[in-house]
Amino acid sequence: MKYNFIKKILVISFLFGFLIGQSIDLKGQKIDISQNEVVLEISGLVCSFCAMGLQNKLSKLDHLDKSKYNKGIFIDVKHQYAIIAESENENIDIDEAVKLTTKAGYDVKIIYTNPDGDKIIAKKIGGEK
């Protein structure tokens, strides 16, 4: 009885996750991307100290949802990506995010967005993936 209940919870969680967002795989790390998130795959990001510099730069973006992550930004150095949480009403300026990342000393390789909440779009810098 208890086992069936847990199973139902797991199935519902999976379906709910499928409906509200999709995921990508970056260097073996599964990353869920919801409608109000932008994921930047970044090269050159190798230490937590580097992440601090990037965090400082990206926190200058307008329309961040600062209630999420670390003031709207999550950086994973091991898998080399950043998640930017944007407010529900207004989107962040993605070109500005790329520019700020470059100014911090790193290179954006691919931008992942989920504009309608049902399909992840990957944009390679310099062209579509």
Partner: protein
């Protein structure tokens, strides 16, 4: 007395190490408009000569370095180092401010999937301290450093070769190697530490010194610390000079 002064002069001219590392660390701050300041304490000395014989006096050289860096862009920076020296030779104590060292590290970065690397060239200038009592202590000098550095999530390496030419002192050639690991990172608190093995070699006319030892570099948010302990593997020279003994460096830096 004349011999003590001669030995002291040799110590001063042979032992003033202009380390190749730039303030804070090779990579911080990398962001445009970033700046940092660091205090570093350095000490070395012994009561032995390099030929192994004992001296009646103990020689100790302590230096407090005030260092700073400003980053225009990640490939263009300016740094300064200002040393405050204290030399104890037996009962004699000498305090003085050394020459200001300005440097312009120019780097070419390349970012890869799993690591980042840079090639650097750094012109340097040592300005004499006009208030110095003895001109030998603070001379005009020019230096040039060529470096390569690579860092991944786990490994760090730096190779640096540099030359210095002084107005009234023999030129110096130096080579520095840092090989290390970066075993702990914490993304959420921006903290971690490096464990590095350092080898420093320098040659001047008739003198060779090779030092080696461990370096620990913990960091937390915008604070970085560096502790080095280096042992003299090779010390030889034409003149009778004091052995350096252990060289200890301890610094703390803040970047913004």
């Amino acid at each position: 007395m004349a011999r003590v002064k001669t030995v002291l002069l040799i110590i001063l001219t042979q032992s003033s190490i202009i380390i190749a590392h730039q303030p804070i660390m090779d990579m911080a701050p990398r962001w445009n408009g970033g700046y940092g300041i660091q205090l570093r304490y350095e000490r070395f000395g012994s009561d032995k000569f390099i030929n192994g014989s004992n001296s009646l006096n103990r020689f100790l050289h302590e230096t407090m370095w005030l260092e700073g860096v400003f980053t225009w862009t990640r490939s263009k920076r300016i740094t300064f180092k200002l040393p405050f020296h204290q030399i104890k030779n037996g009962n004699e104590i000498d305090n003085y401010i050394g020459g200001l060292i300005l440097a312009l590290p120019l780097k070419k970065y390349r970012n890869f999937n799993q690591h980042t690397q840079n090639f650097g060239i750094t012109p340097q200038l040592q300005l004499p301290n006009i208030n110095s009592k003895i001109s030998d202590k603070s001379q005009f000098g020019g230096g040039l450093s060529v470096s390569y550095s690579s860092e991944s999530f786990l490994f760090y390496q730096l190779f640096d070769i540099y030359v210095w030419n002084y107005s009234d002192k023999d030129p110096l050639l130096g080579f520095d190697v840092n090989l290390g690991i970066h075993p702990y990172h914490n993304n959420s608190s921006n903290s971690g530490f490096f464990a590095i093995w350092d080898v420093t070699a320098k040659w001047t006319q008739g003198s060779t010194t090779i030092l080696s030892g461990p370096v620990l570099m913990p960091y937390y948010q915008n604070i970085m610390a560096r502790l080095e302990i280096k042992y003299p593997l090779i010390e030889n020279g034409e003149y009778s000079q004091f052995s350096r003994g252990l060289t200890i460096n301890a610094g703390i830096g803040f970047v913004f």
